[in-house]
Symmetry: D2
Subunit: 142 residues, 4 copies
């Protein structure tokens, strides 16, 4: 798979008075990376929403190792750990720009639901997209 790694600059408003990125913002960075990843494998979130599907978060965890700072570019490497018809699990490593410093490692779990938050069997509804998804399970993207 031809995957373009997710990178983005740290914004000033994402820092706190410890003068580093506030810990809650990494959870947002994971979402940015995940949306980008899903788009790259064909799961464009806009298209999903047109089909009446949302992908809420079931759980997140994050281990903070080295604080990221304003002025820095971070790199996030996602990995699909598991995928079946209604749920999927991801893991992430958040590095500095040249990937010599690990800022965080993290996980998230998700399901597919309709606009009433009822589970949707995405494998039945979008079987072809799901084939693509299955192919990236356990794959190191870089």
């Amino acid at each position: 798979m031809d995957y373009k790694i997710f990178k983005r600059a740290v914004n000033y408003y994402e820092t706190d008075k410890m003068q580093v990125v506030h810990h809650s913002n990494y959870i947002r960075f994971l979402e940015e990376c995940r949306m980008d990843f899903l788009k790259q494998i064909g799961f464009d979130y806009d298209l999903l929403e047109e089909a009446g599907i949302m992908i809420p978060v079931l759980s997140v965890s994050c281990n903070y190792r080295t604080p990221a700072r304003f002025g820095e570019v971070i790199t996030i490497v996602p990995k699909v750990e598991r995928f079946h018809g209604v749920k999927f699990d991801m893991s992430y490593k958040i590095y500095n720009e040249d990937m010599t410093v690990l800022h965080n490692d993290a996980t998230s779990s998700h399901c597919f639901v309709d606009f009433d938050f009822k589970p949707v069997r995405i494998d039945k509804l979008m079987p072809e997209l799901c084939e693509m998804f299955k192919e990236v399970v356990k794959i190191d993207l870089i």
Copy 2:
């Protein structure tokens, strides 16, 4: 009118690396104060949304005078400057807890729309609520 002034503590995550509240957060504090104010005069946002009405922001302005800091409680005094059938303008003063220091003064303008962002004549739709609204125009709440 029996109005309870809006007060709230500054949160740690609302600070930035200048070690004061990030300027964008005051725009959010204004929203908190406005929602609280609207509720107090009978315009409960939940009820409005049930009636298919939203109150988007047409414009905001904010003058930053003294930075607010974590650990502090801020007080916001709102005022309705103008109200007619589709729009209203508000002004705000954001103080420290005992109102001896002015942190900001600000304004916002709003309209009433349906879920497709089309203007709604709130004065026709909810005439009684609007009477209450008209009564607070230009009134100093404290």
Copy 3:
């Protein structure tokens, strides 16, 4: 211990286009609750910072059970799971106002550091405060 349970309203700006609270915001709510809790047991964050001490987050985890919505008041019940000289672990339950619905359960781990992020032996530096802290370990606050 005479503990006042943490409650706060959900703000409009904390929702996302799923029309519920964005998952990252619960991480912020935990911080609000934790700061409030630490203050109630005598660890006022302002005083800590005056003493050159910060309490960064080492890890967080959150399980999302039922989405919280705008217009709602949430209740957070914290618990100290473990405390020793440099670190402590907390768990949290986030409920609706009357505590009949569990929105989330969560955990966080923390350490005490100086402004250069070097670990501080808080038990040596502030032994009396630490006694108070030890007393709340494993205590159900409500």
Copy 4:
């Protein structure tokens, strides 16, 4: 001047339950654009902070014309309206990706201060950088 226009995707967490970008986030987008602009003209914020200088916001205003939505890329065109030794004023236009839709127009005013928020005569301290700044006043960057 060889200026690269600021573009960025709208993030999911930046939407609210109106299903569009929450109005407070545009204030953050302005900061992103401004930091990028300052860097491009040589005022790298990191270097300023090393020199003990911060650039707080004195005022902002924003007119909301068309809501931006998740999945969209926005373009921001900044302009320096005025610059003298301690202060500067900027204006901004926030467009959609191909600049056919104007989402917002906005302004911000700033000053240069030291870490105690005391004004700094940047023109005395960094005369060469200021020459560059003066050259972009009133210049349309695209």
